[in-house]
Every structure is written in C-alpha cells, then in structure tokens.
Symmetry: C2
Subunit: 663 residues, 2 copies
C-alpha cells in the first residue's frame, strides 16, 4: 500500500475508533470522504498546523459537521496544537476538544461551528467574500497579501437546505472564484436513498448559478480529486463545485452504502472487518504507525515554509506601503473604541426620528471611524437605512464596495455575516425587517454560540409597521431573541440609546448585537443617557424617590408612553418612576446593587409596557405586577389605529397602573 | 380596446386606486402582472366565485403577497362574496377584508396567507401534494372527483428565498405535474436591478429540478400566456414554471421599470398619467364600466356551470361507491373525536420510554383511527419515530403513501404541511429535531396566524441530546414557540401526557400543536392524568394540601426530578406540591378558579425546573421564586453528564428549594 493510501486509511481508522470508543457519532462520511479530505489537506490547501491563525491560510469548513471525527483525525495527523491522541480517545466527552460537532473557538483549527446542515457552506460564502474584499483593499502589484481559497465540504443534506441554495446562488452572482465546494455525494440519507427526496440534477443547478462543475466518479481516486481541485483553482471567473461520488461507510462490508452507516457507531465486529478491509489489522486501537505520522509531518513542514515565504513578502509589503501596514493593523487588531468618545458620535438634532433613521445616521458616522465595517440588507436597504453612503456595493466589478446586496435571503445573509467575521479583518452587520429575524434565527444562534461580535439591524419593530399587517408585524420576536444565550438585544428609545446600542456592538468582542428599531418617528427623550449601557436605568425619576409607588418599565417606542402615563399619575399624587430597558441582557449582568437601585425590592407595584410578547417582563414585574404587551398577532391598519386598538395609549397605561396600585 | 384589454386594465386601475387611497401599498406587481393574472383567472382556472369552497376548484396562491391589491381586484371583479367596492376603498384599513397582505380565513377567496416571500409557493407545493394524494385515494375510472391544478404567482423575491428552493426541488422530485408556477419576472427588486443579487439562470435551475420551463417574453401578451398555461397543463410528468417577462409599474410612465414602483403609492399625478396611458380617463376613482363587470360575470357563470357538472358527477360517484362517499365525508368533515375515548388509545406498557417512542406508538394508533392523517419528517423519521407502519411513502409511483420523505428541508416541510391542510381533506403533521424548529419558525408562525390545526413532532428536546452537542441541543426553543400566539406547545412527561398532547392536536380546529419530546427514556409517572388537558395540574399533592410550603413546577423530563426532590423535601418536613405543566398555553386559558386551585396565591415559594430557557417560568414563580433552567448553550457529552453539570439533579433542586424556603 502506498503512503497516500495509508494516510487516507489512518483517517478512516482513527475516525471509526473515535466513534466506537464514544459509542456515538457518524462514521459514514469520514469513511467515504477521507480520500477527498486527505488530498485537499495534504496537497492543495495552504495551512500551517504550527500557526492556525496565519491570516492567508486557506479556509476549510466541514459543512457536514456530523463528520467531525474526520476533521479531528486530520487535525491530529497534521499535528495541530492540542489535538492529541487522548483527545481523539475522548471524542464527544465533556470538556474535550472533540465535541460531537466541530466548535469554533473551542478547538484550534476549526474555522466555524457546523452541524445544522447548510450553515457551513453558507458561512464559507461569507469567508470567500471577505477574502475578495480584503484582497481588493490590501493587495498591490506583486504583493498578493490576501490570496487564498475557501473550501467547504458538504453532503447531500447541506445541499437540500434552503440556506445553502441562497448562499450559493449569491456566490455565483458575485463570481466568488476562490470558493470551492466539495460535495460528498453518496446517494444515502438517514431515511434511505437520497433519490426519495432529492432527485434534482445538482450539477445543472450549480451551472445555473454560474459555478464551474466537475464530477469525480470515484471518490477513492485521489489523483482525479487533485486534478479537479487544480481545475477549480484555475477558474478565475467562477466558484466551483466538485462532486465526488463516494460510498457512505466505505470499507465496512456490513455498512457500506447503507443509511445505518450515517449516524451510528459501526460496532466492534464491524470495526474489525473495517480494519481487515483496510489492511489495518496489526495496529491497536488509535494506533498509527510512525511512517504515516512522518508523512504528515513532512507535509506540515512544507506548509510552514509557505507561511514563512508569505511572511517575508508581507514584511517587504509593510516596508513599501507603511500606510497600508497601518490600515492592516486597524483591520486586524482590536477596534479602537476610544473613537466612540467623540462628541460627534453622540450629537444629534433634537427632532423626532425613527430609530431606523437614527441608526442610519450612526452607521454613516461609524463607516468613517471603522473602515472595516461592512454590511448590507436582504433587499431592504432603503427601508433599513443601512447604506453606507459613498462606499459602493460589493460586486464582481467592485470588490472594494462595503455595502452588500444580499438579495431576499435572510438566512444566508446571516450565515454569510458569520463568515465575514470568521475570516478575520472585518466588522460585519446585516439587516432586514425585524419580523424576518424568524428567517435569520438558526444562523443568529450559531453566531451567539460561536461568540461572534456581529450586528443585526432589525427595523419595523412592532405593530408600528401598520398597514403591511400581521405577516410583517413582529410580536414574539423580542422574546425569541432575548432567550438566545450570548446575544445582546437592544430596543432603543431615541438617538442616545441607539448610539449606546451601536457603541456596544462595536465594543463587543464575543457577543452578537441585535438592534431592534422603529419604522415610525420617536421623540428625543429628556433623561435618556449613556446609562443605557447598563441595559436598564432610571430615565424619569419619581417625584418622591424615597417612596416610589409604582415603577413603569418600557423599551423603545413605548418609553414615551410610560413617561406620558407617569405625568398623568403624578398629577394624581402617585410617585412614579420610569425605567427604560433598552437591553435586558446587559441589565442581567449588572451588580445586585445596581439592579436593586433601579428596581428596589420594596416597590411591588410594577408595570411593563412593550409592543411585543409579555413573557420577557414577568421576571421584573412579578406576580403582583402587570404587563401591557401583545398577546395576539397584529392587524393591517395605520399604525396609530393599531396602537390604540391594542391598548398602547396613555389612558390604558394609566388605567392598568391604577389597577395595580389598588391591589 | 378589446374587452380583454379593458378587463386587464380594470385590475390595474382598481389596484392603483386602492393603494393611492390608502396611501400605502405595492403597485409594482399589480400593474405588471395583471395580464397574466387575468388570463389565468378568466380562461384557465376553475373557480366558482359563488362557492369558494368547491373542493375541486383550482387553487391560486399569490406568493408575492405584497401584490394583494391585484388579488382583491380579481375577487371584486369576479364577484366573490363580500369583496365590494367599499372594501377596495378601505384597502389596508382596520377591520376590512383588504389587509396589506392576503389573509386566509379573513378574506373569502384567499387560499393562504402570504407576504413573507417564498412561503406562498412552498405552501402551494403542499396543496399540489394533497391533490395528488387525495386523487389516488378517491378517484375511480370515469370519476376524477379530485382533479385540479394549483397555481402560484411569484416574483423574484420568492424565488431567491431558500424555502422556495427547498419546496420546488421536492416538487420536481415528486413530479407534481399539476403544480404550475407563474413567475412575474420584472428584473427589479427593492434595492434596484435584480441582477445585483440574483444572476442565476432561473430557467436552467428549474429544469434541473425536473420542471417544464416556458418563457413568455411579453408579459402583456395574454395569448402567449394562455398558450403557456395550456402547455403546462398538458405536461403530465412535470410541474411547470412559466416565466413572464414583465415591467414593474407598467403603464405609469414615471414609475415603470423602477424600484420605486414596488412598494410606494404611485402618487396622485402618476395615477392620472396611468389612467391616461390605459385609456381610463373618463372613469372616476374606483369606477369600472358595466360592460367590464358583465364580461367578468359571464366568466363567473361559466365557472358556476363547471362546478354544477362536477357536482352532478360527484353525486353519481356517491351512488356508485357508497364506501368512498363515507370515506370522503370522514376526510372532509370534522374528525370524530369520540374515537379518542377508546381505552386502547390511552393504554400503555408501564416501562420507561422516550416520549418520542411513545409518540411513535400513538401515531401508529392514530393512523388507523384517522385515515387522513398524513405526514413525515425532514429526513429524521427513524429518530423522530414518525413512520406510519404499512402506509407506504408518498412518491411519483405511490401517490397513496401517507408517509412523506420531506428531505433535509425543515422550512419547506413546514410550509408544505400548511398547504396539505389548506387544501382540505387531510390532517397533516411534520417532524424534525426540536432544535431545528428554528428553521421551521417562519412557517409555524404562518400556521398559527392562519389558524391551521397541524401538528409538529419535535424530538430530542433538551441537553438530553447529549453527545451531538450544543448545535443540536435546544435551549431557547421552548420560549420561542411558547411566545407564538395561537400555538399550543406540549412538553409531555410520559405516555398519558403524550396521548393528551396528541388528542389535543387531533381535537384542535384552529390552533397548531407542537409536541416537544425526549430522546431519552422517561418513567411512566404515578399521578399523571388527563388533567394534563388543562395545561397544568397537580401531579403529586403536598402532604398537607391545606398548607403548602412550596410548589415545584416542571415539564417533560424534569417532572421526575421534581417528584424526587419533593420526596426529599417532604422527608425534611416540608409540604411540597408538584405541578406538571405540559402546556402553558392551555393553562393560560383555564378559569381563574382553576389557576388559583393549582397555584394558590398564598404559596409564594415556587420553584420551576425545565431544561430550557428560564424566561417562560417567571410568570408563575414571581419575584420570590426561582427557576432552574438553561442560561447558556449546552455541551457535547453523554446526557447524564450534562444533566448533572447543568444542575438538573435532585440535590440541586432540593438546594434551590431550600434557598427559597429560607427567604
């Protein structure tokens, strides 16, 4: 057996051993796709195991994340830091580097968390966009300092998912020629033959997107795979799809070609048969002979050399273009948050404005402060107010455009935004109507899980949408986002609070930020302040602050209502505090003292007002308080009519307040 | 001007007038697509305005729901009940039949609520599947009692959305030859030229799916449109796409071909210009001459005749096949819920079982009780336990299969399930892992908004997923679903509660039901009962029920934990009640007396335990209580390790309980 074959089989055996020892996992893909993965990682991908952070490395995303054992085997064999044989032995165990699905930030060498099908390949599109944009910003003649490929490995499942369709259709439109998708086509899904649910001509579909498409008929033929990868690289106009026809569970006679190979351990006996088939009978569990390790090491050393050559070029580049060196550092270092202290950032005209328009103004300040800010909308930029004026739109003709036309593709947009960040060098945001955060949800969750400080501009945030009606009026979306761990959800009430929200998004290092913004105009509030950074704060103090009768809490467009109700109640002799709550998530992490200061325990009369689900507020109003919110879907009518119909009036707030006070 | 042209222009003018009067709406599509819509409704679609419920009518879905003014104009001109000229004058006003986007159940003649792009055409796929399935069940030689087409009208936006891709790829696989998609291709989106974000070869893409594809180069040429529709009908093997090249805002010189035509009123002046262009200067606002009304009426009468002929055939059919008549009535009437009182439905083996397995057993009882139960999974049937044994899988070769291979397409699955129900005659469900309800969310919302009593089987409901790790472990999904208005979310604890959940889903007439089920085994609980129907009930009473020290609330897998903790606490002399909360939504609608009985106000010491977000529980535990839940994402490890790590142990519940009791 030649060394390449042995190297491939080492991946297979290590994968099978991991899964068998854990008694849990997915052997099907690792056994079938090991040759393609090996050929790619060994002979076509620039990556330096000694420095997984090399900015110009090729990116690899295992979109079929359930095949994680294969990725861990690769990382182990190439000598990535921390990925010892002991970690492989602890596959899927608590506190180890080898979780069930690959996790970014947890395991060195994992470029993105994957598992939910379609997410990885969509994220890869974002990475390829980032590469292309940064290349246009930084590269100069003879200095291709940003010049790498992005590889994604997908299975049938990924390609059935709508998010992958959306992202790859955009990839074709944008001619992302350095995106190379490797499709492990094994004709098997969990429910049986892929053809039961997926008979489309995948090659023709991708050609329709504008992809180069190649088919490798024998997924064990690494020479053909290698040629296909080189052809893909050679195409300077189109992204590429390489269809590798493989057999799920290859090498395991009882499992090959069967759905049962996908997601269950092979079983002790079948692992034995696999070892026999692959000529691996003399090694113990998790044992790989030293010649194979040496072979991998040799490749790793060649790759270290590649980085060394790049570093040498980069040093010359920095000498020749000191201004670009400075810009590079701005892009690749931490953002300078001192800039946010500029008075200009916090100053505004004292006129009523929709917070979406306010956000638009702020974005246009930020674009000059942070030149690596990049983003766009799912075909709603004029409504979301997200266009960075004068910065152009990213396109095949204009790679330096900082605005992105995502098209009507909310989910892919969100995954791509993850990819833009994960690549490194950029601070991305994306935007749509708040109600369509429903379509973004699975990818927002991944951003939160990965800890990516991206931003979401979500406008038209309530029944204030008005005439477009219930399909376009968010109700439960605030609760949906607020329950995602590690996501800061802001619903600001005016300019100052919107600026706080954006400043928080800029400062964030490992938490995504959602900005939930109005369609309709809101006044600039007296009393709003940068205290909003604490998530909740006293915006309007009670007349007798030592003896508060009632606290009214509100966010966004309802803060004005709370203030108006307070005025009425104070006229009747009540002492009423108004607390603005722009971000529950940040309020939660304040000190107990601060929380007690804002919401003193002795005040049991509490009322919350928000044009969304009531659920998030019970934590603060308790059993004795009340919430004015939405308990049904909205309706189609002018916004003013709806606010009145659904009880968002001063009169109703006053009445509900009195009901509480009477208790 | 010939009468057809006048009839087309009437639709345009009425649409423009509606939008102008409301000063809100989307004129672009109505002006461009009026000829195609007219030709279809007038000359190719079987529909009887006098009986919009005719079971064998052709279905029409305006997937580009923002073009609602066009649909209302059609309904008005054809004389659909209620759609008076006054309703058109009250476009987008509160309490009228003409909301911003079409709403099913609100406006007669609207087959599905649309607006979120991609949803409508995906729902249409479900309708076409329903037609095909019911045809195979009911049709007999010479009696095509189920024999109609499903038409969807889409724009660019719909076809960019992933959900539409997913659904249409499946439509091709399933060879739904009676699905005809009309694509209003006007090259314009909100952000400008469609080509900025969507350059794919749509015709080639659909051919790759297995569609017949035709292009009508001039969207004003109704003769060509008519021929294309007839060609589409003639294809008995493939679904069809008809690409109509149109001009957005046709007829309005200042707006034609511009993005601004999409979503803003044309403006008074431009409406005048439109009237001039269309030869409509002599009529007042909302005025249509009587010859045009007569023309539409003539067509409506022809259609009434079509139904009469069908009815005559159906009567002969009923006489000839009395057993099919009976079956038809079972399918098309209300479900016989008395069957749910059968002892067999409620009986079970007293062994530990995962609720997903329990649900699987129940589904296999229900399939015989309700022969119109139909459903499937997004490629996870073996895990979701949803296969109806012996009922076959729906496919081009087996239209009578009641199991559906949806493929890895959670969002389209959910939209298709809406369509299966909306068609009439079927009781559908669909299934995936609970964490992937994220992908279903936008379409679940539409089901809830439309009031469709479909069911969702959502298994692997917590960190109990174990080794697959945080990407596969739901945390915030319970809160996400519980905040959707008009959705019953069940998280049952054992067989009895799972049966209650399914019985509730069967009984439901206008509310979808989510069944959130465990991967891991749970014991059959002593004390669980059909009281679960009330959403929450006393499962284990306190030793001193007149003087309760503490209430522990829990759902699903954590009920057992609550009971174990109670036992420990009672040993120490506390009087502790355990309340099982399988469905908060149903508990909320119980009487105040019942709620007070279950959760007496005097008991302030309350603890909730659920392996999900804490947010939903504060409404019940108040400021003095506590919640043991998930405040972070999960991790990859065996389930037992995770439950312990995240505090779901008897010890921790006892400790937290004591902390509350000490307050």
């Amino acid at each position: 057996m030649n060394i390449n074959q042995k190297a491939v089989n080492a991946l297979r055996i290590l994968s099978a051993d991991q899964i068998q020892k854990a008694n849990s996992g997915h052997p099907g893909l690792p056994l079938g796709a090991a040759p393609a993965a090996y050929e790619l990682w060994a002979n076509h991908m620039n990556h330096n195991p000694k420095n997984p952070n090399w900015s110009n490395r090729d990116r690899f995303i295992l979109s079929a994340g359930h095949g994680s054992a294969l990725l861990y085997s690769l990382l182990h064999m190439f000598g990535y830091e921390g990925m010892t044989i002991d970690e492989l032995k602890n596959f899927r165990q608590f506190g180890h580097l080898t979780p069930g699905h690959p996790e970014y930030g947890h395991t060195i060498g994992v470029e993105s968390t994957t598992g939910p099908l379609g997410a990885g390949v969509s994220t890869a599109v974002g990475m390829a966009m980032a590469e292309s944009h940064l290349a246009s910003v930084f590269n100069r003649d003879g200095y291709p300092v940003v010049d790498h490929y992005t590889f994604a490995m997908t299975g049938d499942g990924c390609l059935m998912e709508g998010v992958a369709y959306e992202a790859l259709s955009l990839a074709g439109t944008l001619k992302l020629d350095k995106l190379i998708v490797m499709y492990d086509s094994n004709d098997i899904t969990i429910e049986g033959d892929t053809s039961t649910a997926f008979k489309e001509d995948v090659a023709a579909r991708f050609k329709a997107f504008g992809f180069q498409v190649q088919i490798v008929e024998d997924g064990n033929d690494i020479e053909s795979i290698g040629k296909a990868i080189e052809n893909a690289k050679a195409d300077k106009e189109r992204p590429s799809l390489i269809i590798c026809r493989t057999q799920i569970g290859y090498g395991c006679p009882a499992k090959v070609g069967k759905a049962s190979a996908h997601g269950e351990p092979l079983g002790e006996e079948n692992v034995k048969e696999l070892r026999k088939f692959l000529g691996w009978e003399n090694e113990n569990e998790f044992e790989v002979s030293s010649d194979i390790y040496s072979h991998y090491k040799k490749i790793a050393d060649i790759n270290a050399d590649k980085e060394a050559r790049w570093t040498e070029m980069f040093e010359r580049y920095c000498n020749e273009f000191p201004e670009l060196k400075e810009k590079w550092n701005l892009f690749h270092g931490e953002l300078d948050t001192n800039k946010l202290e500029d008075e200009a950032f916090w100053s505004y005209e004292t006129k009523a404005m929709a917070t979406r328009a306010t956000s638009g103004d702020i974005i246009n300040k930020l674009k000059d402060m942070y030149q690596n800010l990049i983003g766009g909308s799912a075909d709603l930029a004029p409504s979301n107010k997200t266009e960075m004026k004068g910065e152009g739109f990213f396109s095949p003709e204009n790679r330096s455009g900082r605005n992105i036309h995502f098209g009507v593709r909310e989910m892919a947009m969100t995954a791509i935004t993850n990819g833009l960040y994960l690549h490194g060098g950029l601070k991305p945001f994306c935007a749509t109507f708040f109600v369509f955060s429903d379509f973004m949800k699975p990818m927002i969750r991944l951003a939160a899980l990965m800890g990516l400080p991206v931003a979401y501009v979500l406008t038209h945030d309530s029944i204030g949408v008005g005439e477009d009606g219930p399909t376009h009026e968010p109700v439960e979306q605030l609760a949906m986002l607020r329950t995602i761990p590690n996501l800061n959800v802001f619903r600001p009430a005016d300019y100052t609070e919107t600026a706080v929200a954006w400043a928080s998004a800029i400062k964030s290092k490992s938490t995504p930020t959602a900005l939930v913004l109005t369609r309709q105009n809101l006044p600039q509030l007296e009393g709003s302040s940068r205290e909003a950074e604490k998530g909740a704060y006293v915006l309007s103090e009670a007349s007798n602050k030592e003896n508060i009768d009632l606290i009214i809490m509100a966010s966004g467009s309802e803060v004005e209502l709370a203030i108006n109700a307070k005025v009425e109640l104070e006229k009747e002799g009540y002492s009423v505090r108004v607390v603005s709550v722009p971000c529950m998530d940040l309020f939660e992490i304040q000190s107990c003292e601060y929380k007690e200061f804002v919401l003193p325990s002795y005040v049991k009369s509490r009322l919350a007002v928000e044009a969304g689900s009531t659920m998030p507020w019970f934590k603060y109003v308790g059993l004795e308080g009340d919430v004015i919110g939405m308990t049904s879907f909205g309706a189609s009518a002018p916004a003013g009519v709806l606010f009145k119909h659904f009880g968002f009036t001063t009169e109703n707030v006053v009445e509900k307040a009195k009901n509480i006070l009477k208790k």
